[in-house]
């Protein structure tokens, strides 16, 4: 079985699916001849031609809006935003058109498209190449939001997204595009949208995370196991709709919860998860729900290490809960 990185797994998924389904069209800046700035779409234009792999003008609003129009027509467009930091230029298209058309038309029209691209930090990308803006999209009714943390998941989730009937915001953590490799099967398989995964079982503390921070959480868990603290780690995979059952099952078992994400603390997704846990499982809490997150500042260039959640911070938080 091939061992692929996250980027390779995505590329693989795109190739296989575009062969099967001629409704799939890829569009974005530099996705064709250049193969995308992270090479996610490498080789596609050679196989499928410029009609299905479109190098677009520099125009996020047009890319997103045109993709929406294609989806309304009946194609399966996969629009790439070069960095999700630039998506705000077409944000109105996402919020006012893409998210709302099904509702606004009373169900007559739908927008089955994917908006995919790199998010998050850890590559010294500075202010406009490192943001984690998932909260804006989670908060917009009509969109589904997916963040894979593993190559195997990335391919399965992308294929599910292609088959989905709703607009999907597919956010790829750029810091792990190439650093994690895993066995990824050839051929089609899907991972259900809205399903989280317990990537590590434990009894003393629960870490809930997504994207690149899942790996940081696992690192922290390893360190804690050396001190006889057993940690369970959940990888959410889909942010909206949230797999609340998996979360609650672990919370009831363990009672000590830490949510870890790169996005800033205030109104980061951890806030929503905390509220849901407090609402539905408060009697099982052995201490406060903690969030280890990015800082509430624009993303800095210097000291990126301290802006983001650190293993040390996570480990200390876990110990705090144990001794509470």
């Amino acid at each position: 079985m091939p061992v692929l990185s996250l980027a390779e797994a995505l590329n693989n998924a795109l190739k296989e699916q575009m062969r099967k389904d001629d409704r799939i069209v890829v569009l974005g800046e530099d996705v064709g001849r250049r193969g995308g700035v992270f090479l996610i779409t490498e080789g596609l234009i050679d196989e499928f031609g410029p009609e299905r792999v479109i190098d677009t003008p520099l125009s996020e609003a047009a890319i997103f809006g045109v993709a929406a129009g294609m989806a309304i027509y009946g194609l399966k467009p996969i629009a790439e935003v070069q960095f999700f930091d630039f998506a705000f230029g077409g944000f109105d298209q996402i919020v006012s058109q893409i998210a709302k058309l099904r509702y606004r038309s009373g169900g007559q029209f739908k927008v089955p498209m994917i908006l995919r691209g790199p998010v998050a930090g850890g590559i010294r990308g500075g202010m406009y190449h490192s943001q984690s803006p998932e909260s804006y999209y989670i908060h917009t009714a009509g969109l589904k939001v997916i963040v894979p943390a593993f190559p195997y998941d990335a391919k399965g989730l992308l294929i599910s997204s292609i088959k989905a009937d709703d607009p999907i915001i597919f956010m790829e953590p750029k810091s792990i595009y190439r650093t994690i490799k895993q066995e990824v099967p050839e051929g089609e398989y899907t991972i259900p949208i809205g399903e989280a995964r317990v990537v590590r079982e434990g009894d003393d503390v629960l870490f809930i995370s997504y994207g690149a921070m899942v790996h940081r959480a696992l690192q922290a868990a390893d360190q804690l196991s050396n001190e006889n603290i057993s940690v369970e780690v959940i990888d959410l995979r889909t942010l909206l709709p949230l797999d609340i059952q998996t979360i609650l099952k672990s919370v009831r078992k363990i009672g000590r919860v830490i949510i870890i994400h790169e996005a800033p603390k205030t109104l980061g997704f951890g806030a929503e998860i905390s509220a849901l846990i407090a609402e539905k499982a408060i009697d099982f809490l052995k201490g406060p729900i903690l969030r280890i997150t990015g800082q509430d500042t624009p993303f800095p260039l210097a000291h990126e290490h301290y802006y983001l959640p650190t293993v040390k911070r996570i480990v200390n938080a876990a110990k705090y809960l144990i001794n509470y």
Partner: protein, 360 residues
């Protein structure tokens, strides 16, 4: 910049140009009927808003020729991306009066299930609902045309917007894209001289709106929007051009005789004199005299026609206002293709509260 006019405000027709139009007497009659229906229905929708039955209405008064003329020139396979001042498209394409009224009142038979006001979409008639943020619908119109081109499907997309929309980024990005990819799009700019209170002369420094096509390599034209013959002829040509992958941008010059919407008071920013001046250019008045002079219509037939249209609309209004609102569950439908657990939870709580209130 040239300016196409075939029938002027005094009802005088340019015979040479008239010959070039491929329509018969019965077509003219139909277009006239559609304009009248649009005008009268528009009045009723205003009234419904004043009665508190419809949430809002953006009057179409004065602009009927554009919506009717362009949609009449389209083929059945073509698609429409309007906003909220194109009621004439619905009438011309054959949407039932009752469906339109139910939409405005947002009652239980509303095809949009009460999800929004002022906008409308009817898949059966190839009409995609617009957005309230101005010009935000244009990129999707272009995308739809792009998809059709990829699939070698020879349809044309007619997308409508006003003078104000041409200042929005979405408009420029979409025009640019259509020009680059040579898409089958007919861009229809209804220059009704106002974007709420801002006169068109203050909207742009360009000489005209039509000229903006030049920037994107798109063919452009300027036409008297109150002359339905000119509208039809120019639209027919534009649609055929677009069908052959040469997009067209036409500025139709007209005037918004009514207010921006039912919440607007135009007396605050324009004079009665100005309005009256444009009333003399009313598309329906001049077309009526044209029909009479062509022997297609008599005064008596006109009166009968008007009474009949009014009566039909009134009957439908009376029925429509008796219908209850959509079921409470409707506000939770069509957010996604399925209903995730958190929406189910919220829906159950709201339905319970609603039922308790009903039980009082």
């Amino acid at each position: 910049m040239s300016y196409l006019q075939i029938l002027n405000e005094r009802g005088e027709v340019n015979e040479a140009l008239l010959k070039g139009i491929d329509l018969k007497g019965e077509d003219f009659f139909k277009m006239y009927k559609y304009m009248l229906t649009t005008r009268f229905l528009d009045g009723w929708l205003m009234r419904l808003q004043r009665m508190g039955k419809a949430a809002i209405h953006a009057p179409n008064e004065g602009q009927e020729a554009i919506a009717v003329g362009t949609s009449y020139a389209a083929k059945p396979e073509d698609w429409f991306f309007p906003v909220y001042r194109e009621l004439g498209i619905l009438i011309t394409k054959g949407v039932k009066i009752k469906d339109i009224i139910n939409r405005w009142i947002a009652n239980k038979d509303d095809i949009l299930k009460g999800h929004e006001f002022a906008l409308y979409g009817f898949k059966e008639f190839h009409i995609v609902p617009g957005t309230t943020p101005v010009a935000a619908h244009i990129p999707a119109a272009v995308g739809f045309a792009h998809a059709a081109k990829i699939k070698k499907d020879k349809i044309v997309v007619l997308v409508y917007f006003g003078d104000g929309a041409t200042s929005k980024g979405d408009f420029h990005e979409a025009m640019n894209w259509a020009g680059v990819f040579k898409l089958p799009v007919f861009f229809i700019c209804q220059n009704n001289q106002y974007a709420i209170s801002l006169p068109a002369t203050k909207q742009t420094a360009s000489e005209t709106f039509a000229i903006k096509g030049v920037a994107y390599g798109i063919k452009n034209m300027r036409v008297d929007g109150n002359d339905i013959l000119a509208v039809y002829k120019s639209a027919k040509e534009a649609i055929e051009s677009a069908r052959n992958y040469e997009p067209v941008f036409i500025e139709y010059v007209t005037y918004r005789l009514g207010s921006h919407t039912t919440s607007d008071d135009p007396k605050r920013y324009r004079s009665e004199d100005e309005v009256n001046f444009w009333r003399s250019k009313d598309p329906i008045i001049r077309f009526k005299s044209f029909l009479i002079s062509q022997g297609i219509l008599t005064e008596e037939e006109d009166k009968t026609l008007r009474d009949e249209i009014q009566k039909n609309i009134e009957e439908e209004v009376k029925k429509a206002i008796e219908l209850p609102p959509p079921p409470i569950e409707a506000i939770f439908k069509d957010v996604y293709s399925d209903m995730p657990w958190h929406l189910k939870e919220e829906m159950e709580a709201v339905v319970k509260e609603y039922k308790e209130n009903q039980g009082e």
